[in-house]
């Protein structure tokens, strides 16, 4: 038991199949009620798709596992209704400091720009995130969350999957059109389907200690290379909610995990680090190794893999749960369109392509961090220490210091869903880019761009004066909403005012939108439901926008 957290116990309810003795067919089943499976289930249920979630347990994540939730994941969590709960409970931070021996050599700010709703990162114990998601899930009448339901066999076929599920009342059978697998790194389903996940194990061990203490260290990420209190290895310190501090000690491959977990081994390490007689209490201790690997494809017919089951990375960079939450955000809108018959199944291949691209970027960055943190040869160690030594005085070397490149969303520049630019734009909002946030006023009230876009296709047309928009363009914009896949059109303008046809107006009162999107009067962006840019132009034309929509949904001929 933890001293700062009481694990909730969720009620097991006998499934209707076992009550009635008949098998049922569902549109979507999600296996695994971790942070990723729940995010996907909530997003689908919110968009009107009924979902069954099966989980073999009846509580949240035991022990402290995931800690850091990045800006992009928070923006997705906002759209599923748990962003505020996470940010209220979590510890927000943007600054990271890196020390070599006893000197600070480098610091970074994850959010160098002002005017974003969410911070670069929050630290929050994983069990809180899951608890908030479960609460949200239980508010949704079309989300059937079943605890103590363990999948014991799976048969996939071209109409979906047949699952055998074990509960305290025995085994029942369940049919689903679509199966979302979110049962984590040690996935039972992946094994049952005989699917490979390839990559490499890193020959190193790390000790996690979660410690309860009152400390006035700032809410920053502190990382030490070769500190005096833990020579030759690295140490990471993070503040979490409830005065719990995460300390991560690199131990080396030779360390004995069972020995290292013993309090008599752990306490002296922490005392040496804190360097004083401050009181603290051990909340959680574990020793882990890690792997960087991914599945070849995240789609196998009507089975979709999300999160750790599909890809795993080293923890340096917080690219695990953060990328998993982006997986489901990428998947849900596509699956909904396919289920409604509005897009071909090949749209789901783009889920795999885009998230494999992101997974490869995450694996590359976390592998590079790992190689810097734990050099594999004498030469590699010499280069690493040369960088850290030069970093004190020289900017170029500071840029090479790699104690973890923290989770940021991928620019899906290679995606076949993008419509390439035909005009020139400055800045980063290229086709495939995740949208930058900006403060706006909507209907006269303060709001954030990223709170107002997403969950449907949108066209953002930048104009100098909303009231001056010509009637024909206004009608054409409005008409984008009358289609099987509607596009909601919005005007973005530095000026307040009401637009013809009742078109909504986002007032770019700080000019951040214009700056970040290189917007000029006439500039239009087509935005995907997952807040990535599908296409952009310097002038609005219905045909171009519709062609880009067709392309973004695999409906183009």
């Amino acid at each position: 038991m933890l001293s700062t957290y009481q694990y909730p116990k969720y009620e097991y309810v006998q499934p209707p199949e076992q009550k009635s003795g008949t098998s049922q067919r569902y549109p979507v089943v999600v296996v695994g009620a971790g942070p990723v499976g729940l995010a996907g289930a909530i997003e689908l249920a919110q968009s009107g798709v009924p979902v069954v979630v099966l989980d073999d347990d009846d509580t949240v994540s035991v022990g402290s596992r995931g800690v850091c939730y990045a800006k992009r994941a928070l923006e997705v969590l906002d759209r599923i209704g748990v962003g505020d709960a996470c940010c209220d409970k979590g510890v927000s931070w943007n600054v990271g400091r890196t020390f070599f021996r006893d000197e600070e050599v480098y610091n970074f700010n994850l959010l160098p720009q002002p005017d974003h709703k969410r911070p670069g990162m929050i630290n929050l114990q994983q069990y809180y995130l899951e608890e908030f998601e479960i609460k949200r899930a239980q508010e949704l009448p079309n989300l059937d969350l079943r605890f103590k339901n363990k999948v014991v066999s799976v048969a996939t076929h071209d109409r979906g999957a047949t699952l055998q599920v074990e509960t305290p009342d025995g085994i029942y059978t369940l049919e689903t059109d679509w199966l979302i697998v979110a049962d984590g790194a040690r996935s039972g389903i992946r094994k049952m389907m005989n699917l490979e996940i390839e990559g490499k194990i890193f020959m190193d061990r790390f000790l996690i200690a979660d410690v309860v203490m009152k400390a006035d260290f700032p809410a920053e990420r502190w990382f030490w290379f070769d500190p005096p209190f833990h020579p030759g290895q690295s140490v990471l310190l993070h503040r979490q909610a409830d005065n719990v501090w995460r300390i991560d000690f690199q131990l080396g491959w030779q360390a004995d995990p069972e020995e290292e977990k013993k309090p008599e081994r752990v306490m002296p390490r922490i005392k040496a680090m804190l360097g004083d007689d401050r009181e603290f209490e051990l909340e959680w201790v574990s020793v882990y190794t890690f792997q960087c690997r991914r599945m070849q494809s995240f789609r196998h017919g009507r089975t979709l893999f999300v999160g750790d089951v599909a890809h795993q990375v080293s923890p340096f960079g917080a690219r695990g749960a953060n990328s998993g939450i982006q997986d489901t955000d990428n998947l849900c809108w596509k699956l909904k369109l396919v289920m409604e018959g509005k897009a071909p199944e090949s749209l789901l291949d783009s889920y795999s392509e885009e998230r494999v691209f992101a997974a490869d970027e995450n694996i590359m960055n976390s592998t590079r961090s790992t190689d810097f943190i734990t050099p594999k040869s004498k030469t590699s160690l010499t280069f690493r220490n040369a960088v850290l030594t030069l970093a004190r005085d020289h900017a170029f070397a500071r840029a090479l210091v790699n104690s973890g490149r923290l989770s940021v969303p991928s620019f899906l520049t290679e995606s076949r869903l993008n419509t390439p630019d035909t005009a020139s734009f400055k800045g980063d909002m290229v086709p495939g880019a995740p949208l930058d946030d900006a403060p706006i006023k909507a209907a006269g009230r303060d709001a954030w761009l990223l709170d107002r876009v997403g969950n449907r296709f949108m066209a953002l047309l930048y104009v100098s004066d909303p009231a001056a928009l010509d009637a024909a363009t206004a009608r054409a914009l409005k008409a984008l909403g009358d289609a099987p896949i509607p596009i909601e059109a919005v005007l973005v303008s530095p000026a307040a005012g009401s637009a013809p046809e009742g078109l909504p107006v986002f007032e770019d009162y700080t000019g951040r939108f214009a700056e970040r999107y290189d917007a000029q009067p006439g500039t239009v962006y087509l935005v995907r439901p997952d807040q990535h840019v599908a296409g952009r132009w310097r002038a609005f034309e219905t045909a171009r926008v519709k062609a880009a929509l067709a392309r973004a949904t695999c409906n183009a001929q």
Binding site: R368, T379, V387, A399
Partner: protein
């Protein structure tokens, strides 16, 4: 022109969205160059690398400045 000690890595034709990417691309290539080499072989590779890059830079005043900085504190 003095020795440039600001971040300066790039690759022609490649677009970067994150400030850390070009430096990390270089560093990975550097470490990869030494993969599976003995310490002695690596020292030889490093020496050759310094000579090749020194010739490319050419300006001996810059090289003197770099050599001085490299030796500091060692």
């Amino acid at each position: 022109m003095p020795l440039n000690v600001k971040a300066n890595f790039f690759e022609p034709g490649k677009r970067y969205f994150r400030a850390f990417s070009p430096g990390d691309d270089f560093y990975e290539a550097l470490i990869e160059t030494h993969r599976d080499l003995s310490d002695e072989q690596s020292a030889m590779v490093n020496a050759k690398l310094v000579l090749l890059l020194a010739n490319h830079i050419g300006d001996i005043s810059i090289l003197r400045e770099a050599m001085k900085l490299a030796r500091e504190g060692v």
